[in-house]
Symmetry: D2
Subunit: 407 residues, 4 copies
């Protein structure tokens, strides 16, 4: 039913060696304008402000997730047997397309727009774009089935586990990829070993006991990447400036003083659900150009924040406590900074692993010697220690470096 | 005289491990808006259209060149002794800043604007920007001395050899970096070995005979990177579309029909030497946004080319010969494509190494056992073979894939 | 006082790139017959029976430890300042020579001979060998000072911390090296980061808070290497066969029935403290040849065990519990195997990190923001969890695979 | 017909990630005493005297060759289709077993014994060892067919090309493996790319034109490994001492003065064809022990040479020319050294690639665009240059370092 490409098409990838494409529908989706748009969205929000080489995009990540799913359904004997051809293609497509709905600057952006990136992803897949047409032409109903994987509503419960469980192709690719492009070693783990020890039991994707060390390493890798990259204070400083700038634009819009901005930008300021046409235009090129334009805006706050963002003049930061907050707020007031835009606080805290996370993603299951299936914190002394130990927190406040002398 | 930073500042870099900064003036230059602008210029023109992960920027490359120069003047005993502190800082700054004048899309862009990137680099360094001010404040006359290294007019002939000879920090960084981010292995060579075998003789940077294999590898790496990355036909196809789009804009400008474009773009269409203010704005964000805007332009050629560029609908290509040219031109005419914008031909040819290249860069010198200095093709049988062997050529024509069925 | 080599001598090393030698005394020690003997002692006892490429030797490891110490005392500013030239050379020599006293098959061998490898190391350094002479010729008293570092009795308490603390050059080299040669990724950690964050406070080698993630990774690396390599059941099976063979030889010796064995071997069977002349001869070549000879011994137990060892016919293994022990012992009796030689049990258990270990090695100290020095389990939530969590155990019994059908 | 293992068995390998075994007969051959013997034969003769970590064995290399052959016949579509199951197993076995007949110290040893290692390999496969029995039990006639691949006498001419052509699994593994274990980068090339571009045309294994860069790199890698590793003068110095020692033993044997040596050793001195029982015992453990014993021999030349070999007191070397030879020979005479054992000269010369080598191995074929098959030097300008350029030579003489002061 599903057409194969003439010969396997391959794309060089620094993380996986090659991305292999065997099916025409995969190849066609890659060549759509919507998928190519992901070349204009970086994988990481502000981390390239700390790790200068981390300019890799959602495009490369999406290919990487697809490739891991492809290997899972081809190389893991249990999955090869448990899924039929249509399910395999459905889940490969879900891996490929799962981030289609991402906007610029990753999760920062999600705080600003209405709607999660998953919702936009499903709209792009189902609401009549070129991608919808390609999927439906290949097999009627396919668009919905791909979106169902992303929504965790597939008939076959194995499919969502491959792309959005706690040990899924998405996380495995981004850890390896972010480690590669930041140049840190924290995200490295033994993908080959994990793939080799995956099994299927009771409609669950499980790991054989002999893969437990590799999974422990994966959990530690994830934990360290959070602290060293995703939650790095410089990264959060940059994101808090982005946030302030958009907040100011929204306030100006509501006040009827909106400055001239690139088209896609305007929709953002209006803080409403976007049409897909608007959404298509919202990429990091538009934003980057918008910042350049806003450096000449009339409003001094917009002008200042746009310049900080573009020229990387970062907010300073320190530990969040009552005394620091008071000192900083006094200094801001003394220096005439509006704290609505020039003061931010955030709180991040994390356990290395939480068995039943509230995002609905499946826990990591281990099949121990003898055949019993255990949640990993019951099978690994290391993970058990980590789950029951204290939580690390890092709460910070952010403010213009210029007031440091006043503190 | 030159102030040191409090402690060595380091930035993680996937290629070199860390970039180390010891001098305040280096750190300050990195933090200028002009240097940060290089985050918005990719290292490679169109190669990310072939190698999807090759989104690395001139910013990372510039830091890498600086780091190699820093290692040269600190770790190569002959250079450590031959240069005084000011010369060391001058050449480190030249390594850091040598690409400041690059515009978007690498060398494609240089064909469109007036003036080479080296000229713009020297203007940015000398003509009163924040960078000029920082350099002059650190040491009067320093701006000119840094620019002199880039212009090959330094009093000390060693300095230009470190940043723009045939075996210089610039090429060594870009080969390693482009190999890393494309995921190819062709650009890898043994940097450590080359650094270990560098010596100074008669005001020349030379390589000890025991480093000759590493240099042979470097020459082969360079050769293979040219063919596999820089001259890849898909890369050249993308660049020829970019070129056509700008050509059309210039034609429209001359005809008085210029579409509305982002500010920086306009100056390009006018095909004149830019002011530094205009130049600052010309980055890949502006261009990327410009392509999005031009997809709605009135002129159908602009609209079509902008869409091909943005959505990666590449020109087809084949070998350049009289018969193919005739067939393609007939088909273009039949299908109503203006060959001025829809037909391109280019010719690339390359030897792995040319001792005395016409860009004035120093040849590679070998100090053989006994002390004599030889140009490498006289010291290496391999290089001698390559220099005297045939030249590989790859001449292509490019045209819209839509006419393939008419050929 | 201490003579430098003419120019830095370098040796290629896969783990560290190069080993650098600047001092004549280091170079001379490397070229002694005693140090060259380490080429004939593998780094790992039986792990090459699991990981077929793990044939690396104590020779390479000793060079690696030396190189890490050399980098510590040259590149860590606090150590560069805290130690004088003689102390630096002393501790580099201690790193280089610390494993001189190792015999074949690593720690298995230590169970068989009288005396620990540290004791033999100090004897070789101090009791009149070529090494003693070289050290004393370079600087009278130096031999004792090098041995003092190994005995933890140095006047300057920093020195032993560099070569035998919980975060020392010895462990850092062997984790990286064993990971490299086994081909596992478990032992990898970020050596560069740890070196960059080392400081000296109150005569302690401490890690700056920003290095805490790298140390957490190091602790996990060590933990995983123990389970995946050093405690691998196949490795323990091989070592238990070696142990049985030597036990049988000692029993035969006591009974006056000693078979003909290579010279060095005989001393082993006698179970006495060896002269250094005897010790010099005891390497893995002698043992390997000995096993070949013993395959023709008159005693059937010796013959059989030697053949199992040489041809890798491993003991089977299973979990140690009362029922299994009973079943196996019955089967051994039924099949006529002497359980003294054909049955082994061992118990291994391990926490990832124990702050105050009973081998006297220093705990890992962290200097937190503010300057306070904390033992790492008080500074890291991860390590705190691990220290307070359960202990993983793996208790096994080993027996000839031939009786499996009788169980 | 051929039994599969229960599940794929894997062995960790640093070069290939994992070695995969699917067939029972492969697994059984690995577990024979003859194959395990390869753990006691190093891959490289004397190179571990230069590159201290290069202790890897023929055992690991043989597994690696097998793994590359396994990938070729499973992953290269043309080969998967061209060969039947029996041919695939035959050639995998040939890859696995092709080095069975190697003795200690690689090719040095072949100069000393009668018979090439290929002859011994075929004898071990065909003359009634455990391996012969296993092969014949699996499929009568299989032993001869495996040996035929090694002898280049297979009915299907594809089979020998996979294990002993100029671009075969043997060379591909040893280049990668020797690069890994020496820590040099010279031997690295892009195995994945080569495998991806292999095709079958006219009973020839050919490379698609798009793989030509990867093959050029492979040729350069091979060339550089020869000069940097296999022909390194220190390596040749060590091998010339080994050679002298065995020469002296043979002379003593002929004179009836043979010292007491380990059993296997004796056969060597007799310079006759060995029985397989004798050959089995001849490994590097026997030799290593033999050197230790010979340090106490009565004959002073034997004693001295054995000590030089064991303690790595290398012969000095210099360029071979008439003047040097005369000076060295005079000095040897003056100092009382017998030049038969204390003077060696060797001449090595090499082109990077010779299309039709005299060992009968197939040249490298390229299938160019259009389908024509060309020998690579007709398809690659680089290789053409190298084939027609000059030959690099390195002719040396070797003698005891002690006479240097007399020169």
């Amino acid at each position: 039913m599903f057409r194969k490409t003439n010969e396997t098409k391959v794309m060089r990838d620094p993380v996986h060696g090659y991305i292999h494409v065997d099916y025409g529908i995969i190849w066609k989706c890659i060549n759509t304008a919507w998928f190519q748009r992901l070349r204009r969205i970086r994988q990481l929000g502000g981390a390239h402000m700390v790790y200068h080489a981390a300019d890799h995009t959602r495009f490369t990540h999406s290919l990487g997730v697809y490739e891991i799913v492809r290997r899972m359904v081809n190389e893991v004997p249990d999955l090869r047997d448990a899924l039929d051809e249509k399910e395999k293609i459905t889940v490969m497509l879900a891996g490929l397309l799962h981030d289609l709905g991402h906007g610029p600057y990753s999760h920062t952006f999600e705080k600003i727009i209405r709607g999660s990136h998953e919702e936009y992803t499903c709209r792009i897949i189902e609401e009549g774009t070129e991608i919808t047409e390609l999927l439906e032409a290949e097999c009627p109903g396919l668009a919905k089935e791909v979106a169902d994987v992303i929504r965790h509503t597939s008939k076959n419960p194995l499919l969502p586990q491959l792309v959005s469980g706690q040990l899924d192709a998405d996380r495995m690719d981004y850890l390896l990829r972010d480690a590669y492009f930041t140049g840190t070693k924290y995200g490295e783990f033994d993908l080959e070993r994990i793939l080799r020890t995956l099994r299927v039991s009771d409609s669950k994707v499980v790991v054989k006991e002999s893969g437990i060390y590799a999974v422990e390493n994966y959990i530690m890798a994830r934990y360290h990447m959070y602290w060293q990259v995703y939650y790095h204070p410089v990264c959060r400083s940059y994101e808090s400036m982005l946030n302030s700038l958009f907040l100011r634009l929204q306030d100006l819009y509501r006040a009827g003083n909106m400055p001239v901005v690139p088209a896609g930008f305007r929709a953002l300021a209006e803080a409403r659900v976007l049409t897909l046409e608007e959404y298509f235009l919202l990429d990091e090129y538009t934003c980057g150009y918008g910042f350049a334009v806003l450096k000449d805006a009339e409003d001094p706050v917009v002008r200042d924040l746009a310049s900080r963002v573009q020229d990387r003049r970062l907010f300073a930061y320190e530990e969040n406590n009552a005394d620091a907050v008071r000192r900083v707020q006094e200094a801001l007031e003394g220096a005439g900074y509006d704290p609505r835009y020039y003061f931010a606080m955030d709180e991040v805290g994390q356990r290395p692993y939480v068995p039943y996370s509230n995002d609905g993603s499946a826990p990591i299951w281990i099949r121990v010697h003898g055949g019993e299936i255990k949640e990993i914190s019951e099978a690994s002394t290391i993970v058990s220690s980590l789950v029951n130990g204290p939580v690390l927190r890092d709460d910070r406040i952010f403010y213009p470096a210029e007031i440091k002398s006043l503190l």
